[in-house]
Amino acid sequence: MPLPPAAGIGFKPQHARALDAPGAVSWLEIHAENYMVDGGPRLALLAEMSQRFAMSAHGVGLSIGGEDPLDPDHLARLRGLLDWLNPARFSEHLAWSSHGGAYLNDLLPLPCNTATLDRVCAHIDEVQQYLGRQMLLENPTSYMVFDDSTMSETDFLARIGRRTGCGMLLDIENVFLSAQNLGFAPERYLDAYPLDMVGEIHLAGHAPGDDVLIDTHSAPVTDPVWALYARVLDRIGPTPTLIEWDADVPDFATLQAEAARAHALLTRRVPA
């Protein structure tokens, strides 16, 4: 099943029975690493859900921006899962998370220059060839600027897309947070971003902060992010859109209401 140009949610096992209601949401996304196990209840539930919903698999552990070579064991685990699940989409992050055999369980930043561009493109070529499918690349949340960046993140992403043929996962919350943290206008970022390559959009909410806003996926989407989302839809039309809520996960009705708000913008039943 392809991803419909509609609203999806991140699948949480505690919402499995609420999803029995017809039309509850249009599609589901999972974190691929959570399902890299040999058997048991997690996989059984995922198998059941994948019979009923279009699925997107979102990876957090490939370390595409890493200085180290890609981990062949992890690539094999990923291919095993994707071959079994056959999701409509697979996406990963412009970030690194492993080095020297240690996995940090976080999305760590890299500078945007020609050396990192070559490395990221080589890794994406390897991933797409090994998996036999296109991947989408998600823009990061930034907290600091690198002295050795020589090009903008939007230019960096566009060049990666052109060189590797990967698509883009546009995380509008990440654009908003980076803009707040680094002091730029998110609209200008979006104007420079390769919108023609977008295959999926992420929306999320964050914990309040003073000095720095952290990407927590722990709250409702904020009004400025909804406004940026509407602006993007005006440019590229209806696009599969995920409500990400991974910490302090609310009841299903709350998630569904967020998805409904995205759906209303997707179908233009209400003004932004």
Binding site: E33, N34, M36, V37, D38, G39, G40, P41, R42, A44, V60, G61, L62, G66, E67, D68, D71, D73, H74, R77, W96, S97, S98, H99, G100, G101, A102, Y103, L104, N105, D106, L108, P109, Y143, M144, F146, D148, N181, D211, V212, I214
Partner: protein
């Protein structure tokens, strides 16, 4: 900045290599996320020591044993052994055993699926049967009543008075079960795993009938396929 330097600073209190204050966002996030992963994986340990103690303990642990790969479902396999040498928890000598039960539970939960032995096969063709432990089977021996302590801290009243001794954990279908097991159960399973026939696998002097009753009722055996 190299990624090597970044990682070294993330997993220590060293001065940030880059970005000063904003570097702390990453250090805090790495520590908090891994600590939360461990607290979710070891709920009884977290309850026994309290969350503040657990987070401080987890910080020391994850710096000594950072994850080796991105699959968090089993991260923490080194925690039970590491706890034995963690001096601040020495007043709770049963803590490593409780942690070992929680880790065995996770391993069992995520192990490969397999249909348990159809016991009617025993009646029809017992000589043709070669038995093996179910892939989800984990057995361990406790010196403290760790199964009871675990049960009382994870709301499992049916095991609240389980004694010290052997523990059998397995998942014949989709739900994991833990139970006290007679002495010799673990040795029997180890011998079966090595391919010994059932008769030879039961240790001398052990309560054979009790071991068999435990293994069959738990669904801990499968038929070994040639």
């Amino acid at each position: 900045m190299t990624q090597h330097g970044f990682v070294a600073a993330l997993l220590s209190d060293a001065a940030p290599p880059v970005g000063a204050a904003r570097f702390e966002v990453y250090r805090n996030s790495v520590t908090a996320a891994l600590s939360a992963t461990l607290a979710e994986a070891f709920p009884a340990v977290a309850k026994l020591v309290g969350r503040r103690f657990f987070d401080a303990m987890a910080r020391d642990f994850l710096r000594a044993h950072p994850p080796r790969h991105p699959v968090m479902a089993l991260y923490g396999d080194a925690l039970p052994g590491w706890l034995k040498g963690f001096a601040p928890a020495a007043a709770l000598p049963y803590l490593p055993e409780v942690a070992a039960i929680e880790q065995a539970w996770r391993v069992s939960c995520h192990a490969a699926d397999a249909p348990p032995l159809d016991v009617t096969r025993l009646a029809t063709d017992p000589d043709a049967l070669t038995l093996a432990p179910h892939p989800s089977v984990r057995s361990l021996t406790t010196r403290w009543p760790a199964l009871s302590i675990w049960a009382r801290n994870t709301d499992r009243p049916e095991l609240a008075n389980a004694p010290a001794g052997e523990v059998l954990i397995c998942r014949p279908a989709l739900s994991v079960q833990a139970r006290p097991a007679p002495a010799g159960t673990g040795a029997t399973l180890a011998a079966l795993a090595q391919g010994h026939p059932l008769g030879a696998a039961l240790p001398d002097g052990a309560p054979h009938a009790e071991i068999l009753a435990c293994l069959f009722s738990a669904g801990a055996l499968i038929e070994r396929t040639p």
